[in-house]
Symmetry: C2
Subunit: 349 residues, 2 copies
């Protein structure tokens, strides 16, 4: 827990502020009968010594470790798998998991209204031992505010690049993107489309660059009209396929940067009478049960999502206990799982 060893007392604050203990007590408890001048001096001393009133301390359960997991939304198998990993490790380490979701209308409005400092202070007051932030955009100022209050944070696949000193957990996205594309190249495809997630997301960029690296290694030129970033949701897959099919020379294979995107492609293909894999090969990313259970089962780059959840919690607990981290960046291996959505192109020679 590495807290200030000597917990400051009311008397210590009083001494520093040059007032009596009862006066400090009044300020702490929000009484009115204190002169503005005295109040200011006491507040300064309170802040300087980091005093916590019994009521404040009450909200900080000592001994019990509470980690808040923040998702932008809990609407994908990807998110649920990560959560399950966190929960599993939390169960073995007696850690409480508080769950929150930022995309909720009211929640978002509320947190938007809070300054980074106030938000971080809220976490302290609520007794959070640490935080895991998944797929959300956190400002550097916010992450900094947490650090200043000694709340360990780990981010998983953040939507924006985190500051260098924040622990981040992810998968080998570049290698995964490369493996997916190489698989399609090996089958004989050369017109390969890429349907990506949010352009700013680092994990998406890595997948895109893996895709480009594989193409360039085979001297296949990257056709910019084949690359469509947007979101990890299935509607992007449906719209993306529509756009690709309207090209003069549509791709014969698609690498989708998430299984959800791939499922959107699958649905749109069906509506257009395109068979998969006969007319179009399709590779997804994530390797959730969605890939396994889809019809046809999806070739996909599997991420160890549960392991990522566990790794994030492990990193938070390590920081909390003042242990050294092996690395500020934990990167777990992806691997291509070939199922039935990929085959040689029809016009292959």
């Amino acid at each position: 827990m590495t807290v200030r060893p000597e917990k400051p007392t009311l008397a210590a604050v009083a001494l520093r502020a040059g007032v009596s203990a009862p006066t400090v007590s009044k300020v702490v408890n929000g009484r009115e009968d204190v002169s503005p001048d005295t109040r200011a001096r006491v507040l300064a001393a309170l802040e300087a010594l980091g005093y916590q009133s019994p009521v404040q301390r009450r909200t900080t359960a000592p001994g019990q470790t509470v980690v808040e997991v923040v998702f932008d939304a809990l609407n994908s198998a990807y998110a649920v798998e990560i959560l399950n990993g966190v929960l599993e490790y939390a169960g073995t380490t007696d850690v409480e998991v508080v769950l929150s979701v930022t995309s909720q209308v009211t929640g978002a409005a509320l947190s938007a209204a809070l300054s980074p400092e106030r938000r971080a202070q809220r976490m302290v007051d609520a007794g959070r031992s640490g935080m895991i932030v998944v797929t959300s955009a956190f400002s550097a100022a916010q992450l900094h505010a947490f650090r200043r209050r000694k709340i360990p944070v780990a981010v998983i696949d953040p939507l924006n690049p985190p500051p260098a000193d924040v622990v981040s957990v992810g998968a080998t996205n570049w290698a995964g993107g490369k493996a997916a594309t190489e698989h399609l190249l090996q089958l004989g495809h050369s017109r390969i489309g890429f349907l990506g997630g949010p352009e700013a997301a680092e994990c998406n960029q890595a997948r895109l660059h893996g895709y480009m690296a594989a193409l360039m290694a085979k001297d296949v030129t990257v056709d910019p009209s084949y690359v469509l970033s947007g979101s990890f949701r299935s509607d992007h897959g449906a719209r993306g396929l529509k756009a690709l099919l309207s090209l003069a020379e549509p791709p014969t294979a698609i690498f989708a940067a998430s299984d959800s995107i791939a499922l959107g492609v699958l649905g749109e293909a069906r509506r257009n009478g395109l068979r998969i894999p006969e007319d179009l090969s399709l590779v997804g990313f994530d390797g959730t049960y969605q890939a396994e259970e889809s019809i046809p089962p999806l070739t996909s780059v599997a991420q160890p999502l549960q392991e990522m959840g566990r790794a994030a919690l492990r990193a938070v607990l390590r920081q909390l206990h003042g242990e050294a981290l092996d690395s500020q960046r934990v990167e777990l291996a992806t691997h291509l799982v070939v199922r039935e959505s990929t085959a040689a192109p029809r016009e292959a020679h």
Copy 2:
């Protein structure tokens, strides 16, 4: 919060136990130097007065409402939708959501070792304001222990019938089962199979009886070999279809008691070259995005899962605030959503 108005002091406990305050202090703090006899008397007095040590009180954040949501497992769209409903309402009411899952190996072992009383006491010590139990089997003794400690509980679709005085939230399962079956009858099917969830689960029984009611209303005899209960997971759907197809006269339509079961049927049908809906009509239950995104999109009985989550939290908060409940049983409406997995049977006349 309706807590005991006079919070009991160490001195009061000492008086009742006939010992001095320091002795009670030792017992509370787990010191060894107390005779077993004295310890027993003090513990009895502690229990009788409901004394909480400062450390215990510290874990009970006053003002902050913390609700624990307990799932047997977080492995279905059904569970995730309910959770999202809870989270959404929690966000608007400033309630903290602690998440736990009982099916985890370690977690299950741990809670199995705990007596109902100790488990309930843990919840009190951990400062839980209330609990929402989803699809889990809780013993009457456990639910009783919570009630004795004034922790409001709401159960959603419990695996075992809860005691009459426990608030339960569910959907109109009987009506939903009836609607699904009537839809198939109307299309001209008369050989309709039922693939159900756990036999003991009340929601499953209601769906089964709705199915039977619809058949009986049309004077269709219920063929017992057409009714296969088991689990809500997809593997039950795959095995169930296999079993039904091995019958001398297989059904021409199947009502699956969950979308996951239906997806299992879909996969197995595909492996057997059976087209849906041409060769076999299929109705699911739950109406999650899985039904919407499957190929073909699944006709399904939609449950208002998010609303169920919200209703459960609302019921917990009502009890917490000492407000009267409209009903011990909240039952929300289901409705049939017809998509593309149902059609008239081939040999219809």
